[in-house]
Symmetry: C2
Subunit: 490 residues, 2 copies
Amino acid sequence: MSKGITSRDTDYSQWYNELVVKADLAEHSAVRGCMVIKPYGYAIWEKMQAALDQMFKDTGHSNAYFPLFIPKSFFSKEASHVEGFATECAVVTHYRLKNDGTGQIVVDEEAKLEEELIVRPTSETIIWNTYRGWIESYRDLPILVNQWANVVRWEMRTRLFLRTAEFLWQEGHTAHATREEAVEETNRMLGVYADFAENWMALPVVKGRKTENERFAGALDTLCIEALMQDGKALQAGTSHFLGQNFAKAFDVKFTAKDGKLDYVWATSWGVSTRLMGALIMAHSDDAGLVLPPKLAPIQVVIVPIYKTDEEKAGITGFADTLIAELKAQGISVRFDDRDTQRPGFKFAEWELKGVPVRIAVGARDMQNGTVEIARRDTQTKETVAQEGLAARVAGLLEDIQQHIFTKALTFRNANTVEVNTYDEFKQVLEEKGGFISAHWDGTVETEKRIKEETKATIRCIPLAGQPEDGFCMVTGKPSTQRVLFARAY
Amino acid sequence: MSKGITSRDTDYSQWYNELVVKADLAEHSAVRGCMVIKPYGYAIWEKMQAALDQMFKDTGHSNAYFPLFIPKSFFSKEASHVEGFATECAVVTHYRLKNDGTGQIVVDEEAKLEEELIVRPTSETIIWNTYRGWIESYRDLPILVNQWANVVRWEMRTRLFLRTAEFLWQEGHTAHATREEAVEETNRMLGVYADFAENWMALPVVKGRKTENERFAGALDTLCIEALMQDGKALQAGTSHFLGQNFAKAFDVKFTAKDGKLDYVWATSWGVSTRLMGALIMAHSDDAGLVLPPKLAPIQVVIVPIYKTDEEKAGITGFADTLIAELKAQGISVRFDDRDTQRPGFKFAEWELKGVPVRIAVGARDMQNGTVEIARRDTQTKETVAQEGLAARVAGLLEDIQQHIFTKALTFRNANTVEVNTYDEFKQVLEEKGGFISAHWDGTVETEKRIKEETKATIRCIPLAGQPEDGFCMVTGKPSTQRVLFARAY
């Protein structure tokens, strides 16, 4: 069919790019590096948002909204923060256009801002400047706030969902009276992200800690979840930062503790973005198109009638109406594809491309036999089953598929996580197989950077579940007490 | 109490400004003209979003997302559109900051954009440029897309929610094969807005058509809903535009019709914004604080225990736990305010300020008598009622309050809508009473502008429900066939 896409084996990168566009998820816009998220892609993002938002609320957080623009001077207040973001900022310098008299629309130089405004790449600075007015005493703490927003980071090399100049995300920003409470929050939100990734996205993740070199600009500690894609490259799927008192000090946010003493407030921030869409696509999909976990599929079931006459179609439609009502009563989203303009084969391929988990085909003979053909997208298998009890069967099948997609991804990850003890072995695995490589490292930035330069692999994280183990750095031979996880990454 | 606010009679404008801040809805940010929407305010906005979003989906629309930035050249393509928005645009000119060597962070002049980017004030141009790639034939139509987004219009005089440089909104952008279908969509969405305003916000609105002079920049027809605030000023609460083929022509979006002929696509756009928060506040609230319609109240019921001993508190808490479970089972949101740090009187005032529709106070004597004191926020009345059957009573009361708030606002609007037949009478009513004034107008922009200059009143709309009536323009004496609605407006 015309919508066929390059296979993963032929060119994984090309497969991804084509799939995103042909499955109607997103496309490049006329604005450099910015994407258009199309309705079908946005419907998946909305499901992600709804699930995450509920999890945030269940852990005591509220949503709020802070300005898109950040005064340039705010940026300079936290030294490592500005260093991290200064080179990729969209800068607003004027607030008016005018007609130049020849019919051309030009920037009105008389409308120059006294201080430039930065389009937020992240909101720590504007939020902590605001929190100064919200916090006086320990009674005002904790503040547990999240924001759903767009942010801009001027990336030079962009890819749909994975790396775009503008992207959508949520950013949690919390304020606490004690270090312990902030650390606990940092861990809690990492747990929420891991829970979401595994139980909604069907994406197994490794929870870990970033090395100092890979930390968020301004954080004392950055925790992350790391996932493995089908091409053996890793993808950072979410981060949770313990910010210490860095931003409170930069923006002079103090509180009176129970004992009457003044102290700076402790902070966390944490975020996931539309990058998760990239992870979802690359982790599960195949050469026929998207494979979506049922919990995030905008359409969970599609029913395709196969008929020659109007009478046959009417009979099938009657059956489908009943089935749809039964499925909807169970909260299952279903589409009845009775378009006369397309043949069944075309419809099958289209819904495969779009990753609908379950397809039910019903023909005239099925109606006589009281059967349907039911196909599952993940395994691309099909069987003929009775119409009786179909809704319950579909509900069970959706759960099976959700579980199976996760198990498949986990099996893949386990098969592609190897321990190595020498640098030669490391390089060999990286070239021949990819995946996560667990190895000893001497803990220095120098060695970390050398490995990155020589192999393009980075330390994805120091796994939280990792066991202490005495060993020697595979590069320098210096002593090490725990293995860390390397990979080439998106 | 310390949170007392200026009364409406003393200074309506000051009352509004104080209420927004003291009820924790929003505050001014450090960025000129931009607001921070605080968690309590955002929770109301989320309820509005959820209701509207469902209504959009029920009428066949899907959400999508388009870039924040619009190339300057796109703006110039629709002449009246650029004229309407050019003077209030935030313009991005650079994409990088740098350290100037002295430790100062400055704009990197080497990172100047070839073409400036405008932060979207509305998205017709970027969306119609995108639709060109989505539309080939009538089979691709209609496109029924909505976007939830932030937009920026550089307002010089700003007020929280009512007029801010950045605001949140939704913008629907639809594409159709025929004029009739686009006109029908324009009307349908106006109906959705009116339905939402009246049945969720408890805000009676007049559906009408804008005069040519007040039309959206680029529209052939702008429909609107207009509401009346307590100070007698009108507020435009939502607009729905029939754009004709203007944007299709500007961006060369053609389609092949069923008969094989090429034609330009027909368009609509429609939007409501966080301005609705301002309307909600100003329409219903009183000198004690917010009055929220139950359907949009983040907390619908607050339970305040009144106790002296821990034993008394324990007894009341046991009762409250059961009640809360019963209320939640009915989908009612409830807060049990058992803070030991505040007295009941303080709590009563705080929840009044925040507009919680129903307050239940329970003391030790109530527990003995099997009663509670139940107070409704809208009328500020209270009564002692039996604990038995309380949950059902509360559910009924919430419905009553929703209805009562609407009826009260409708009665006010009716009492403040007058017909006048002379310009003197018009000016007198405007000065002494305000409100909507229904009068004959000769249909010319000149007269409309003259009235605005002389009285600051504008034509809010030509009511859709208005009856043809022969008369004479109150200013020029020229013939007129229908009364239009004037008011001073926000």
